[in-house]
Symmetry: C2
Subunit: 295 residues, 2 copies
Amino acid sequence: MSNIAFIGVGNMGGPMARNLLKAGHQVTAFDLSDAVLDPVLKAGARKGASANAAVKDADVVITMLPAGHHVRAVYLDNGVLGAAKKGALLIDSSTIDVDSARAVHTAAEKAGFLFLDAPVSGGTGGAEAGTLTFMCGGSDAAFEQAKPVLEKMGKKIAHAGGPGAGQAAKICNNMMLGISMIGTCEALALGEKLGLEAQKLFDIMSTSSGQSWSLTTYCPVPGPVPTAPSNRDYAGGFATALMLKDLKLAQTAAQSVGANTPLGAEAAQLYSLFAAAGNAGIDFSGIIRMLRGKA
Amino acid sequence: MSNIAFIGVGNMGGPMARNLLKAGHQVTAFDLSDAVLDPVLKAGARKGASANAAVKDADVVITMLPAGHHVRAVYLDNGVLGAAKKGALLIDSSTIDVDSARAVHTAAEKAGFLFLDAPVSGGTGGAEAGTLTFMCGGSDAAFEQAKPVLEKMGKKIAHAGGPGAGQAAKICNNMMLGISMIGTCEALALGEKLGLEAQKLFDIMSTSSGQSWSLTTYCPVPGPVPTAPSNRDYAGGFATALMLKDLKLAQTAAQSVGANTPLGAEAAQLYSLFAAAGNAGIDFSGIIRMLRGKA
């Protein structure tokens, strides 16, 4: 069992670290907030005095931070790359911009470390249950070494490609998710106004060319898919604020490489409007209310 | 076996009428174009001198016409509703605006006829093979009476609801299809520019929340789905001009009932740009070329 340093143990990192402890790993945890650190310490983790102190003896370092600048700050500029022991495997599971991920990859390689960008999907529910999907970018060696550790926290561990490919795959997927959810909401709301029963339109679209995960797994109107957040008034699920974050990351990446994403850009604007109307905390499928004119 | 009048035997109506003949029905066909009428006559149909003459002795009337004004012209104003025999079942399989469909429904009911709007999906391939999907709007009585006839031309016969519901379901579905196809193209094109292999991104998205029919059945880049038109340079399939027609019908319906469809409107504009650049005849998944900047 490895000695693992876990930096950033909030809503996602906390349950992920606890799953590593359950699997028998030694975990040294660090977070700026004592409130989120506490349950991880209670579950058996040791407390790191700082990020650099936490990684000192670690075989594996895992970071789960809000944004690219946090990840740069933790790894670069007298950070983890200077403090980690030789041969440590470094895994960043934060969802951040591709450019930051690649910058840290380059610096890590220069410092002699294997590094993997490995953002997740599956939300806090998946983090608790250990059923996350990891989308990984980095060398085959880094991926193979990381896989047994990631399998303690996730069900599906995908190798998307080289440095930054994990972040790239995640934002491409989630940009499509944001677009398809709004499209599904528009179709269902148009159907309502045209007098169609939601269940009948669902039955037709879900077995036809209008099918998508947004409709068949996460249907934004209550009824057809009982497990979807629409059935519990859009509580829980995937918060609008996080969808907006991913859509903005997709726009940043698109601008960085000169890609055209007209619907991705529009989806970001629509989720921004929806979040600004006080809906940042509810599930992103709730945007059907705004499209109906009853946000 | 019924005596069926078939009005409009072009790309879609032609093979549909031939499937009715194969099933043993008597068919009287009418079309303004002798060129499209010919193969249907050779297959055993009788020639109607006019639309009204064709429907005179028919038990079932089927129309397959380009737009709402054609359907109004054929049925209303001294048309089929005055010429058809008492008790005839009237089926309009054209894809037209919901308001026209409902206007003809109302007039047909007043004249004492059972009427069904029953637009199809499945394209010319589905019409030839007799595997179309019919989306039907009208009374239970009209639907039950039409079903055995429609089954000779299609594989799936869905009852979407009352008058106009078939048209409504089709445009809701196809609006979502247009949106999800552009979204899928944007995600794949962004992935390319970020250095992701198409097959790897396909593998991740197709088993994740970015999944849609556009990706998994009709993948707009060649390789992952060998039957998709992308593998034959976007020939055949579902023509951009027809997708644009359906997106415009969705916009007309949305404006008619006051529905908000921001991505549907944008999709219509993007397909309009793509068609205007000389791509009206190629499959609608070819829009990835425009998004890449190589239209």
